[in-house]
Symmetry: C2
């Protein structure tokens, strides 16, 4: 669990609607939402999150964008630092997978008490 | 419903884990997450979202920050443009409230199929 998302253990059960966030928690959470606040990173995350089997090689992601591999790797690094994905190098390539608990914690933080399902 | 969040009507039911986002939807959604990707805006949103009764006067929010009122109003404008809050001027002051359906749509977009409750 990333440092940023640890604050959700304290905040998420009650969520955004329960009480004003303190400055420290807001700063940690803002880095997670900032990681999501970029179209390329959102597309990368959805490519990884929607993959049957769970893992995506960086070599499969780069061709989907008109961006260099270092740029793609930088975006992936920000998602990883936010605690949303993790990765492992195997030989030449790095493989990425999503951390579902992190996405669900974030969803729980946003969800209002009125929400059904 | 903001233009940015309208894409969630198409994307949210299935969510982030269902299929890779197209570039257009990713661009729209990124602006919403970017609005959340700032500590001051997260604190403002949580102040509004956690208010019993639902409305907060901008005059109550400014004293909580060491920022000028125009700066606070700018942050509130970005949250409003993202479709997360709305507001109404009454006399001297502007009153803000959260749009719960927007938060719930965003939560639904992030939530994984494995998530319980």
């Amino acid at each position: 669990m990333s440092k940023q998302l640890e604050v959700l253990d304290a905040a998420c059960c009650e969520g955004l609607t329960s009480a004003p966030l303190d400055a420290g928690s807001a700063a940690e959470l803002a880095t997670v939402f900032k990681a999501l606040g970029d179209p390329v990173r959102l597309r990368l995350l959805s490519m990884i999150a929607s993959r049957q089997g769970g893992e995506v090689c960086v070599c499969e992601m780069t061709p989907a964008f008109e961006l260099s591999q270092p740029t793609i790797s930088h975006h992936l690094k920000l998602l990883r630092q936010a605690g949303l994905i993790d990765c492992e190098r195997r030989g030449t390539w790095v493989y990425y997978w999503v951390l579902p608990a992190a996405l669900d914690r974030l969803a729980g933080f946003l969800r209002t008490p009125q929400a059904t399902a």
